[in-house]
């Protein structure tokens, strides 16, 4: 099976700091592979574990530094890395991002069976890129996927989790799946993997290379734009209950009663 995994470089939310103008302090913030994309990678790598003839290409759109996460993915066991990078891509919303990724796939990696994305990126958190790529390439999709099992040359079985329960869906290939957290932990990089990654050349393409026009990418190609950004006001006014454990419990019971909680 030929798989493409779309991964995104995101700042580690644990150490984000903000300036007074609500922009992010980028210095000193570690960049990580979006956590959901780690599940996407793990899913692809498990398919490859079972079927060694599987090939995995990892794709990202981002600044030149994003090459680093592609190297990491190769160190984990992926075969090729593709970086689409261009100053004109800056300021892309999900529509422009998914169009760019879809074009990159059509132009530079058209021969695939399965595209795996993460469900969300933890910075933008839109969950839109995967389904939009599917639409641009006219492919079927399964979102909120937890597990993937190839069943046939051109079919896979996907376990999907919704508010109402667990669905098992058979999807025709080629197709797109978007992964939520799966039941297994993503693997770690091995030494031999790192060595292989060092020797692997990342393919880098610009806007022209993938055949897109400036009005279709970046800020110009984005129908949405941010008119205002602000930090939510967090009221920090926790009322601490005081006294012994019994006294605190009694006060809590009072509060629960006031709130009209059942049985309280």
């Amino acid at each position: 099976m030929k798989i493409i995994v779309c991964i995104k470089q995101v700042p580690d939310t644990a150490d984000i700091k903000w300036t007074e103008n609500n922009t992010m302090v980028r210095e000193g913030v570690e960049s990580i592979i979006n956590p959901f994309d780690e599940y996407a990678l793990e899913t692809a790598l498990r398919i490859k574990d079972e079927n060694p003839e599987t090939t995995i290409k990892v794709l990202t759109m981002g600044p030149p530094q994003a090459e680093e996460i592609l190297k990491r993915a190769i160190a984990l066991g992926c075969d090729e890395g593709i970086l689409v990078s261009d100053k004109k891509f800056a300021g892309a919303d999900t529509q422009a991002t998914s169009r760019t990724l879809a074009h990159a796939i059509s132009a530079k990696a058209p021969d695939f069976d399965l595209i795996i994305c993460g469900q969300f990126a933890i910075d933008g958190d839109t969950a839109q890129t995967g389904p939009s790529i599917a639409q641009h390439l006219d492919l079927p999709q399964v979102t909120y996927a937890k597990e993937v099992m190839p069943i046939h040359q051109n079919k896979i079985l996907v376990t999907r989790e919704t508010e109402y329960g667990i669905e098992k869906i058979k999807m025709q290939l080629p197709g797109v799946i978007c992964m939520i957290k799966c039941d297994y932990n993503p693997r770690k990089i091995t030494i031999s993997g790192s060595m292989k990654a060092q020797d692997t050349q990342i393919q880098t393409y610009s806007m022209e290379d993938i055949g897109l026009a400036p009005e279709l990418v970046g800020i110009k190609g984005s129908p949405t734009y941010v008119s205002k950004a602000f930090r939510p006001e967090r009221e920090e006014n926790c009322q601490f209950l005081e006294g012994s454990a019994d006294q605190m419990t009694a006060q809590l019971m009072e509060k629960l009663k006031e709130l009209g909680v059942k049985n309280a």
Binding site: M24, T94, T162, G165, Y225, K228, C238, L259, K262
Partner: protein
């Protein structure tokens, strides 16, 4: 010129309107007033014949027109067919605003639709307004709620998905009667490339679904082992709620992945959230800090969870929780 507001009427597997559908109606009503009374419409896609209940509920929520696509092929949700139906209706009706619940279904169909319509989509909004130029101003959290962004759209329809349970449901209007307009969609050329072959509903126990629960008792690393979660389950039962967990508790195997709350888990907005032995890391807060009332029980007075909490108990969960259970049981006897 596009005009009118359209909401996506989502039907649940048990053939009811999803909660967020009514919340969208309520919001649409408010937006319509700011837009000099643009019409409020609902897009209803269904495979069932017997849907008078849905009409009544939509009518009472203030909907003026129901744009109905009805076809036996639409019995179960299918991305291909539902996206096709929605696309055809929107093309024909040309609304200026399209609102969809940010549920698994909503977030499955909305991005496909926006790409096909070549317009913008703002995800998982928690606030909607009309600005001075008459545009939809959609506000949403990013970076796990650390930053809020208000987003505008240059194209039509201006689309947004809306986080469930943040907007109030409208008071029913028993006088209102929506007009039903059936729209024929030809599916003959639409491939169906996914097939639902099995559906296992969530355990139909006494426990409420975590995204719908009014009370959530969440446990973290401080609970120490799986066995101790029984205590939280008992408390949840007594309060008519359900149990959630931090990632640490899930990763340790004490709880199922499906109840993880936070950035890589579920986003929940219960009336009452009781955090037991949870430190309150930002990734956890991202999933629960819009709860109405947050009660934190933690033995470390400096734990960040107290910054988000309404009420704080600095204490040992193994001492406090059993006492609460005991008190609740006493009340029950009376």
């Amino acid at each position: 010129m596009p005009s009118g507001i359209c909401i996506f009427a989502e039907v649940t597997p048990d053939k009811k309107l999803s909660g967020v559908t009514l919340e969208l109606s309520g919001k649409a009503l408010e937006l319509s007033q700011k837009l000099n009374g643009e019409t409020i419409n609902a897009l209803l896609i269904t495979g069932d014949d017997n849907i008078d209940d849905l009409f009544i509920e939509l009518s009472q929520s203030g909907i003026q027109n129901i744009w109905l696509v009805q076809d036996p092929k639409l019995k179960n949700y299918s991305t291909d067919l539902y996206a096709k139906a929605a696309y055809e209706v929107i093309k024909q009706k040309d609304p200026s605003i399209m609102l969809i619940g940010a549920t698994t279904t909503g977030r499955d169909i909305a991005p496909r639709l926006s790409s096909q319509l070549d317009t913008g989509l703002t995800a998982d909004c928690t606030e909607l307004d009309i600005n001075e130029k008459g545009q939809l101003a959609a506000t949403r959290p990013t970076f796990g709620g650390e930053l809020m962004a208000t987003i505008l759209c240059k194209k039509f329809p201006q689309m947004a998905t809306i986080r469930p349970k943040v907007m109030p449901k409208p008071t029913p209007n028993y006088e209102n009667k929506a007009k039903v307009e059936k729209i024929e969609v030809d599916f003959s050329a639409t491939p169906i490339r996914t097939e639902l072959i099995e559906f296992t509903p969530l355990a139909q126990s006494t426990q409420a679904r975590i995204d719908e629960a009014e009370v959530i008792i969440a446990g973290g690393k401080g609970l120490k082992n799986a066995q101790n979660f029984k205590m939280l389950e008992e408390l949840a039962q007594l309060l008519g709620g359900t149990v959630g967990a931090s990632r640490c508790a899930v990763d340790a195997g004490w709880c199922d992945h499906s109840v993880q709350i936070g950035q890589t888990g579920k986003t929940v907005t219960p009336k009452i959230y009781i955090a037991c032995g949870i430190s309150g890391a930002i990734q956890h807060l991202a999933g629960m800090n819009s709860s109405d009332i947050i009660i934190a029980i933690n033995k470390d007075p400096k734990a960040p969870i107290f910054k988000a909490a309404t009420y704080g108990i600095v204490g040992d969960v193994f001492e406090i929780v059993p006492k609460i259970i005991e008190e609740l049981k006493k009340q029950k006897v009376h």
